[in-house]
Symmetry: C2
Subunit: 224 residues, 2 copies
Amino acid sequence: MTDPAPLSPKAEQTRQAIVDAAMRLFRSGGYEKTTMRAIAGEAGVSLGNAYYYFASKEHLIQAYYDRMQESHTEAVAAVLAAEPSFAPRLRKVLLAWVDVAAPYHEFAGKFFKNAAEPTSPLSPFSPESKAAREAAIDLFRQTVDGSDVKVTKALRADLPELLWLLQMGVVLFWVYDASPDQARTRALIEKAVPLVDRLIRMTRLPVVRGVVDDLVELVHAVRS
Amino acid sequence: MTDPAPLSPKAEQTRQAIVDAAMRLFRSGGYEKTTMRAIAGEAGVSLGNAYYYFASKEHLIQAYYDRMQESHTEAVAAVLAAEPSFAPRLRKVLLAWVDVAAPYHEFAGKFFKNAAEPTSPLSPFSPESKAAREAAIDLFRQTVDGSDVKVTKALRADLPELLWLLQMGVVLFWVYDASPDQARTRALIEKAVPLVDRLIRMTRLPVVRGVVDDLVELVHAVRS
DNA sequence: CATGGGAGTTGAACGTGTTCAAGATAGTGG
DNA sequence: CCACTATCTTGAACACGTTCAACTCCCATG
C-alpha cells in the first residue's frame, strides 16, 4: 500500500530508518522546514539513497497515512465489540479517527494535498487506493450491520458508502481545523451524529421515501 | 481581493502584464511546468519584479480564480434576471459555473492541489479569500431571494451558505470528472438540484422541522 | 574460487521558487 | 533646477527537492 514495494530483504531496515528519521524531524521541526538532506543525515544514509527508497518527500508522508489507517481499523474493532447502539457506535468510530489522526494533524495539509490531485495514486478516489477505500467503507458497513438501527431497503446497500462520505466531510473539516485538540471537529461530530441518526430513522416515514430514492439514484448515477 | 493592493497608479499595467503572461503560460504548459522566470520573461519584466507584485507563484493563481469568479457572477446575473423559479435558477447557476470553468478544467487538478492546502492563501476557506468566498455565497443569496421558493425562517439566513457548500461539493466532483465536457458533473447537477429543491420544500413539514433546527445549529456551531 | 549482474549507495549537479542588497525612476518640495 | 523620498526594478545568490552516472557490495552460478 505504501509503495510498489518489490519486496526488499534486510535493507528494509534502511527504509524504516528513513521513515523514522523523517517522522522525528517532521514532528520536531515541521514538514516544510525539514530538508531531505536532514532526513538522510538523521537516518545515516546519503541523500540519493533516501530517494532510492522514496520517490519524493511527499511519499514519506504516505507512511504516516498508512499507520493512521491501521490504527483506526484497530480502534474501530474495539468500539464495535463493546457498543450495540447505532448512534454511539457511529460517534465512537468517528471520534476514534480524530484520536488516531491527532498526532498527524500537522501534516493534514500534506495528506490532503495528495488527496486533491486527481491523477495521484495517493488520492482516496484513485484506482490504486480502491482496496483501502473499500476497507474504510467496510468499517461503516460493520458499524451499521452490528447495530440496532433499522434501515429501509432502499438505503441498506448504500448507507455505508454514504457514511464514508460523511467521514470524508469530517476529514475535510478536520484538515482545516486549527482549534486545540481539534475541539471543533469533535464538536462537529457530536452535533452531526444525532442528526444523521435522526435522518436515518426518518427515512422510514412515507413522505421521506421519495427523497431517499432520489438520493440513492443520485449516488448510483454518479458512481463511475 | 487579489492582494492587499495598496493601489498602484500606472504600473498596475505591469501587474496585469504579469497576470496575462502567467495565464497564457499556465494554459499552454500547465502550472508546474511554467517557471517564474518564463512568466517574467513573457511579461517583459525581471524575475525579481514579478515578486514585487506577487508574493509567490501561488498568488498568481488567485488572479485566475478572481477572473473565473467574475465571469460566473456575470453569467449568474443574466440567469437570475430571466428565471424566477428556484430550481431552474439553482440549476442554471451551477451549470453556468461548469461552463465558465470548462476552459480551465484540464489543469484544474494542479490548481486544486495547491488550493487544497489549508495554509495556502488559495484555500476557499482562507482569510485571504474571504471576500471572494462571501461574494460567492452572495450569489446563492440572490438565487434564493429573487425566487419563488418559500424558505422557513430557521433556514433563511443559512441557506445561501449551505448552497455554497453544495457548490464546493460540485467543484470537488468536477475536479475529478474526466468525462468529455464534464458530462458527469452536469449529470450530477441535474440530479442534485431537484433533490435539493425537494428537501427545501420539505423543511416546512412539521416532522422535518426538528432536523432543520439541528442542522442550522450544527452550521452555527461549526462556523468559527 | 572467479565472475557477472542485480541490489544498494553515493554525492555532485541541476532546475526552480524565493530573497535581497543595490540601483533606477519618478514625483514632490524648496 | 536640485535634492530627497517612495516606488519600482534588477539579477545574482541561496536553499532545497530531485536526478543521475558511477561505484560498491552481495551472492548465485559455473
